[in-house]
Symmetry: C2
Subunit: 104 residues, 2 copies
């Protein structure tokens, strides 16, 4: 999955699909790339579980797979130094404290 999103074209596809699902032709229009190469990128993203696709008639639509990037998000959350974890806790504490006080 990291290899899937290590490519700038594929990251751009992810960023586009985060807004809304899109047909292959709409996605292709964003990139100056031959269709076969582009389909290969989409296939890599789909095999990595980052996107899903569905076919309606002759139109294949791609969408971000909900939670498809969660495993990476969780892993990153775990790779925090003790100092960063303490800073996080302080942030949470301050957010809670300000909740009880003035605004919100």
């Amino acid at each position: 999955m990291l290899r899937a999103i290590a490519d700038p074209t594929r990251r751009a596809v992810v960023e586009r699909l985060a807004k809304s699902p899109a047909a292959v032709s709409d996605l292709l229009a964003m990139f100056s790339m031959a269709l076969p190469s582009f389909l290969q990128h989409l296939r890599i993203l789909e095999n990595a579980g980052v996107v899903t696709s569905s076919k309606h008639g002759r139109v294949r639509t791609f969408a971000l797979r909900p939670g498809g990037l969660d495993v990476l998000h969780l892993w990153l959350g775990e790779q925090r130094t003790p100092a960063e974890t303490r800073a996080d806790r302080l942030g949470i504490h301050l957010a809670r404290t300000s909740n009880q006080g003035d605004k919100q």
Copy 2:
């Protein structure tokens, strides 16, 4: 940077360094790998800004670079579908509401 952490050995090094800095020899002891290959992995992580190293006498110590993975963390946070963003907001709302009520 994604390519740097796309390798399982390098991810294991990151996981180890998230606990505490470590000397090269201590890190090497965790992996059955020749020193030159292992140093190459460390170099890739350092060039990607994920880890830093410092030399004291003859001992080189590696540490996770604070904030080194933040850019990826932020990017992932942005790649959320509208449904996921709504779920996040609901989670935050519920956390705030429960703060005002019973426990904590």
